[in-house]
């Protein structure tokens, strides 16, 4: 519920200002675009993390079934999370 605060009316919250602060200095962004960037980040991060786990966990699970092992599923989940965090960091973190 606290997420909503940042994405809704409260566009001058410290968090959103910090995230878009660098872009603001380029002096061409309108307030609407800050809101859009911040909200898409806030809403796509969980689904990105979930997708990472699902894709690579799923691949690991299939490998396990094929090779009759049990190690690739947990490895795949961890690899998926790491890749998803990396993706989020590169897309929104800088």
């Amino acid at each position: 519920m606290s997420k909503v605060k940042g994405t809704g009316s409260d566009m001058t919250s410290p968090l959103s200002t910090a995230i878009v602060g660098r872009a603001m200095s380029e002096d061409k962004l309108r307030p609407e675009e800050d809101a859009q960037g911040f909200a898409s980040a806030a809403w796509s991060i969980p689904s990105t993390l979930l997708a990472g786990m699902a894709i690579y966990g799923g691949a690991g699970w299939l490998l396990d079934r094929w090779l009759d092992t049990s190690a690739f599923f947990p490895i795949g989940v961890v690899v998926g999370v790491v890749l998803a965090v990396y993706l989020v960091y590169r897309k929104y973190g800088r």
């Binding site: 519920m1 909503v4 994405t7 809704g8 009316s9 566009m11 309108r30 307030p31 609407e32 675009e33 809101a35 859009q36 960037g37 909200a39 898409s40 809403w43 796509s44 969980p46 689904s47 990105t48 979930l50 997708a51 990472g52 699902a54 894709i55 998926g80 890749l83 998803a84 990396y86 993706l87 590169r90 897309k91």
Partner: protein, 261 residues
């Protein structure tokens, strides 16, 4: 404590089966309470908007005044932040979505009706699929069939080899998980809220009317108090979920129109 457990054995909490698996009305298989409420909600929203905006006055009075507050809320908090100059073109869809879902949800606390339409997943699913189709159509139209998927799956500024690993994540996240959670968020909130309200009012009813005992009465009072508290909480959640659904719809449409973000 033993007296309490004996009482608790007799009390049966209402389960999902009896709360949500409602009988067909008049032998028509598809005609159930949520369907009737959905039709009723449509009529309410149509009549409300019609009486507010059919003959608009420059100085708004009465219904128009109320509806304009809703319009301005959706325009300023939902449409403009995500659509910018395109906001006005999409207000029809977004305002309808917001009012429609809010009325659906309010059905959950209106006395004697008391069933949130969105607690049957088919209803939010249809809305989410509609938004999904609009999102993909607009994305392909404004960015080209290749450009849309390229912008979605290959965000700029990453080292080349890593794209092979990250593109499937982006695809799954945007094309499957996003629309799925869009519908499930609304459904699950209404489903859980209805369960909670039904449980607490059942506690109050059982311990104060069905089985009034000195030991059970305080529990019954607690049930009534919790029903009132959670009804207030539900009113907040109902508004919030209607707002979020419309906001996410605006966000998806905005991302398809302007791929920069």
């Amino acid at each position: 404590m033993t007296a309490l457990t004996v009482l608790a054995d007799e009390f049966k909490a209402p389960g999902p089966q009896e709360l949500f698996d409602l009988p067909a009305i008049g032998g028509v298989a598809w005609l159930t309470k949520p369907v009737l409420l959905a039709i009723l909600s449509s009529i309410i929203v149509i009549v409300f908007c019609w009486s507010a905006f059919a003959k608009p006055k420059i100085v708004p009075r009465g219904v128009q005044n109320v509806a304009e507050y809703g319009y301005m809320f959706v325009r300023d908090q939902v449409a403009r932040p995500f659509l910018g100059k395109d906001a006005d073109r999409w207000m029809g869809l977004l305002l309808t979505l917001f009012f429609m879902i809010w009325v659906w949800n309010l059905m959950g606390v209106i006395p004697f009706i008391q069933f949130p339409v969105a607690s049957h997943i088919a209803f939010p699913a249809v809305l989410a699929i509609t938004i999904y189709v609009i999102k993909v159509y607009l994305g392909v139209k404004h960015q080209g069939p290749i450009g849309y998927f390229k912008n979605m799956m290959f965000p700029p500024g990453l080292p080349k080899p890593i794209y092979v690993l990250l593109a499937p994540i982006e695809f799954l996240s945007n094309m499957i998980i996003a629309p799925f959670t869009h519908a499930v968020r609304l459904f699950a909130n209404m489903f859980a809220g209805h369960m909670l309200l039904a449980f607490f009012s059942m506690v109050g009813f059982w311990f104060l009317f069905e089985q009034l005992t000195p030991l059970g009465a305080p529990i019954g009072v607690l049930g009534v108090v919790m029903t009132i508290v959670f009804t207030g909480f539900e009113l907040f959640i109902q508004f919030l979920q209607a707002f979020l659904f419309a906001m996410l719809a605006a966000m998806y449409i905005g991302n398809s129109l302007h791929p920069d973000h």
